[in-house]
Amino acid sequence: MISGFALAVAAPWLSRIAGKHGGNLLAMLPAVLFAYFLGLVQPVTGAGPISEITRWVPTLGVDLSFRVDGLSLIFCLLITGVGTAVIAYTGAYLASHEQLGRLQAYLLAFMASMLGLVLSDNLLALFVFWELTAFTSYLLIGFKHHEDKSRGSALQAMLVNGLGGLCLLAGVILLSNIGGNTSIVALIGQADAIRAHPHYLAALLLVLMGAFTKSAQFPFHFWLPGAMAAPSPVSAYLHSATMVKAGVYLLARLSPVLGMTPEWVGIIAPIGALTMLIGAVMAFFLTDLKQILAYTTVSMLGALVMLVGINTQESMAAAMVLLIVHSLYKGTLFLVTGSVEHGAGTREIGELGGLRRAMPLTAAIASIAALSMAGVPPMLGFISKELWYESSLQLALGGIPLVAASVVANGLGFALAGVVAYGVFFGKPAHPDPHPHDPNFAMSAGPLLLAGLGLVAGLFPGLLIEPLTGAALTAMAFDASHYHLALWHGINPAFALSLLTFALGAALYTGRERVVANLGRLAGMGRYGPKRLYELSIQKSLAYARFQTNLLQSGYLRSYVMVVVLTSVVMVGLSVTWDKVQSIVVPALDVRLHEVLLAVVILGAALMMARIGASLAAVAALGVVGYGVALMFYLFSAPDLAMTQLSVETLSVILFVLVLRSLPEAKSLSSRSTRIRDALVAATAGGLMTLFLLIVLSEPFQSRLSGYFNENSAPLANGRNVVNVILVDYRAFDTMGEITVLAVAAIGVYALLKMRKGEGGSR
């Protein structure tokens, strides 16, 4: 099993080489995998799940533990089976496209991720594949990347899925924290504890966000029709068998862990039902074949979610069968749409009709699929619908709205099946196109196979479907030993509902044009839907982002300085407590007159600088400050410092003068109020610094280092000037850095002055 998966992961690279040799060759890979999984049906249904673990990131609790049970096997078969058809189809459909190789690669990568998703027993590994499907589908949806619309749709799909993905991530982490494990099997063992945990509801909601976005549930459904920008075979793959079913898979997979609670049923089933209705109604008003299929897909996804939400053995069985049915007929119909577009050049139902004569094979395929979609016996679709009604009817009073919604949605589905098959292929040729024709073998084989399977499975449900769904039920912790599947259930309430559905469907089909014309005006309401919300939220976030960024990053250095100063004041101020301020001890004023005078001169010179601003006089004042500080150093036992400060100050004054002579006298640029405001801020900062220093100075102080320096300088370090010894010996490393700074500054001065304009050439 591992080998099969490894091959699939390697597929993108293989396909790049083989890409030019046509799609059929590449379709071999999923075909082989399909056969492989088919071979697993017997062992899995007989002997139980097969699992295999490879350690991956044990540090973070992520392992590649693959597990094949009934549930995953159904998905695997669908993924590889439909995958085979789609990949073969694509090779022919886009035969002359220069990026065909890439598309095939993405398809295979997508398939591999999907397989990984359904096979993983480790929640986190599952999440990894979950996101991978999202991203590979992004690449697929944006395949026609030169079109704005494609890029927009791809982004939209990715963002909606990304949102869900992030919630799911949080949910997954939360779940594994609660359960103390990342293995789903292990979590099932802890299910009771998890359901009783205070974080249960949060975890459930987060997981549901993931599932609902992926499976296009209301109000996240809009990305799915948008994703129709992709080429038809891609749509067929993503929206029939794979991508969108991942959410359903996740719910089914986690139902033994999170399910069986009022919250589960109460949240999931209504949302599923609502989605089902909305999808069906919207589809009814559309005229583009692909869009119709997209919305019916939304509708069926809603149905699936609803059934999983009901969470009884019957509903789960119904969901499994519906899942298979839907994948088969919807995959077929998308591919057929591709063929129609390929042959007739349009997808508008108004411009299509009577294609039966030109495309007999396609017409036949479409009819079979449509019958299954309509749920007519002896198709598998009929069985699924029966099961569905049965399970809904089992619910008590609360089930009535669900049953009603189901009937309406199915009725609409019936009518739409008529639209896509009967309306297009039978009836009068609406728009005689020059060359409608049946596509070649590669393009027909796939849909034919899928449609055929639906028929065969309906006639012999016990052959494959029954053991599979049975095993899936076992995987979902139901006792499936008495489980049985049959085409004919006898005359019961479910059958009556089926008949009602047919009647409603037929009525809707015949009356469709009138209904659409009358209610068409309401279709404009779609503008206010969640899609609009998505667009608005993107727009508003962008606008806000620009606004805030322009506000903060205004380009005014002085406001940056101001913010930095205020931040420092606030942060330091936060921590300076009042009792500390009170504890300041002002030592007995041990001062000498000349020292005080010096201090006054320094301060005075500085204040003068603030008043006179930018001129040579200000530089002179700066010099006074510098020399004053040097003198202060000298007075307080630091002759080395004084000497250095003196020479450095002289040198900087010279440099200042050298530079300033080429500059004009500065004017006062700010208004008086600004100056006052700035002065207040600056004074606060300065005052805080004084306060802070005073607090520190009030404490007793003992250097832990200086005694050692004093004792050892002369005997051990051969120097009597302790400061110099520190500089060239104890802390010579600092001095090394210091002279490096000087060297760099010299290079900098040189570089800036030698560089001529236009030589930078960086932009």
């Binding site: 990131v57 044990p58 540090t59 986190l124 999440f127 990894v128 991978l132 991203f135 992004y138 944006g142 030169h146 890029r151 982004l155 990304g162 949102l163 991530l169 949080a170 976030s541 982002a545 805030q548 960024t549 990053q553 250095l557 940056y560 300085v561 913010v563 931040t567 942060m571 330091v572 921590s575 500390k580 610094m689 802070f692 220093l693 607090i695 520190v696 404490e699 250097s703 832990r704 280092l705 050692y708 104890y730 802390r731 490393f733 600092d734 850095g737 210091e738 490096t740 060297a743 760099v744 290079i747 040189y750 800036l752 030698k754 560089m755 001529r756 030589e759 930078g760 050439g761 932009r763």
Partner: protein, 495 residues
């Protein structure tokens, strides 16, 4: 051993000196620079392996016992940072051969980048507060010069803001050191850790801690102190921006991590709560800033800021797991970011512009470039199984475990926005057709492609090698959270 610890500082310094002495011979300088960067790489990796083998090591420069001399200490975190610095330097040096041009090379480009990295490595290894200041200044001054080097108007404007705000940071940092010495009477970090552990005057220490936080916060580009970064990072040559983006802010973050795991852990209720708040705000403002950009490198500049937020978040939580997440995150973000910036240089070279609107068509023209973009970009957006996912996953998990739900929401939302603008860049630069009025103007030389592809591959490497790397991060985090090993290594039984 004593040699191995100083090598990360003296190799680039020596390289710089040699290059300086060959001032007029640019080709010789190029050779020296590449050889020097390679040697540093070897030394850094050896150091990391040694530390991983033997635990925290230290050396007393000038051979005076701690805390009297200056101690260089290498723990796993420091050693990892040194390796990352060496990696970026090597990539950027090679890239520079093709991207920088004679004009810059003639005024000391190579010595400067090596001096800068010497300062950075010094900062990662030093165990002395004042020496950290000196290393910061070495780094800073060389970055000033590099920033302004082209002498164009834009660069001068950017440089003025950059220089001003960073000098404020230095002044604050310096003042904080003065006050700290005035309270504790020592400069050695391990010594400070022991002294302050017994310090009764906690509120005073808190205030000093805040001062350090502001100083480092400016350097780390934390909200609301980050203005210098978006104002300047897009102005110099791409090679320079890349080196800055990879390392400069990370030195600030490193210092924050070092100080707030080793020295200031007495009152985490205040300091680390403030860090958490800053982390959240930094993430969000950064990501919103990036969303608003229409130019490649400016977008990436804001992106840096939002990523700093994640790093701070891990620090603020101050759990063993969150620190491990930070260490891994650091490696991820430096590598992926370098790859992406180098790529922005290649697209700019080919198209002659870096405005997203004026770029396009690369998906069709260059599948290789597309892959090299997607890997780091998606990684930074946190798409599994790339490195950024593991990093984000670990941070989110740590926040959930610490019950910091607001932070979880912020981190996840920021991830979504990141995804949004990364995909936007993808759509604009790659998927969209090349605008007719902005044709291809030049070819990018092989020396530019090489490092870019190599960094892309490295991103894949850290993505798939996540397990051993995260184990390493785990051990590094243990050393950070259990301060005793560090203190013992420095103060007890030193070399």
């Amino acid at each position: 051993m004593s040699l191995l610890l100083v090598l990360p500082v003296i190799i680039p310094l020596f390289t710089a000196i040699l290059a300086l002495l060959c001032w007029r011979h640019i080709n010789v300088q190029r050779g020296i620079a590449v050889v020097g960067a390679s040697c540093l790489m070897v030394a850094a990796v050896t150091l990391l392996l040694t530390i991983s083998d033997r635990g925290i090591q230290c050396v007393q420069v000038s051979n005076w016992q701690a805390p009297f001399g200056i101690t260089l200490v290498a723990d796993l975190f420091g050693a990892v940072m040194v390796v990352l610095a060496a990696t970026s330097l090597l990539a950027v040096t090679v890239y520079s051969l093709g991207s920088v041009g004679r004009a810059l090379e003639a005024v000391g480009y190579y010595p400067l980048i090596h001096v800068m990295v010497a300062g950075i490595c010094g900062a990662f290894l030093t165990g002395d507060v004042f020496n950290l200041y000196v290393c910061f200044e070495v780094t800073l001054v060389s970055s000033f010069v590099l920033m302004a080097m082209g002498g164009e108007r834009q660069q001068i404007e950017g440089a003025i803001k950059y220089v001003t705000l960073n000098l404020m940071a230095s002044a604050i940092f310096l003042a904080a050191i003065g006050l700290l010495y005035g309270v504790a009477g020592t400069l050695n970090m391990a010594d400070l850790a022991t002294v302050l552990a017994n310090e009764p005057r906690q509120t005073l220490v808190n205030s000093i801690a805040m001062l350090f936080m502001v100083g480092f916060g400016i350097k780390a580009a934390v909200f609301p102190l980050f203005f210098w970064l978006p104002a300047s990072y897009h102005t110099p040559n791409v090679a320079i921006t890349t080196l800055f983006a990879a390392l400069l802010t990370k030195v600030g973050v490193y210092a924050l991590i070092r100080f707030f795991t080793l020295i200031f852990v007495g009152d985490t209720g205040l300091t680390h709560t403030v860090l958490l708040v800053l982390a959240g705000l930094t993430m969000i403002t950064g990501v919103l800033g990036a969303v608003a950009q229409t130019e490649f490198r400016r977008l990436l500049s804001f992106h840096i800021i939002s990523q700093i937020g994640y790093l701070l978040l891990g620090l603020g939580l101050l759990t063993h797991f969150s620190l491990a997440a930070v260490v891994y995150f650091m490696g991820h973000v430096i590598i992926a970011k370098t790859a992406l910036l180098l790529l922005s240089g290649v697209t700019q070279r080919i198209s002659g512009t870096s405005e997203l609107k004026e770029l396009g068509g690369f998906y069709k023209e260059s599948p290789l470039l597309s892959v090299v973009f997607l890997v780091p970009a998606l990684s930074l957006a946190g798409i599994p199984p790339l490195s950024g996912f593991w990093a984000k996953f670990a941070v989110v998990k740590a926040s959930l475990e610490a019950e910091q739900y607001v932070m979880v929401v912020a981190a996840l939302a920021v991830g979504l926005f990141t995804l949004y603008y990364m995909l936007n860049v993808w759509a604009e630069v790659f998927w969209k057709d090349r605008p007719v009025d902005h044709p291809v103007v030049a070819k990018a030389p092989l020396v530019m492609w090489g490092p870019m592809v190599a960094m892309g591959i490295l991103t894949l490497g850290i993505s798939f090698g996540v397990d051993p790397l995260f184990q390493l991060a785990n051990r590094a985090a243990f050393q950070l959270i259990d301060r005793q090993e560090y203190i013992r290594a420095v103060l007890g039984g030193a070399l």
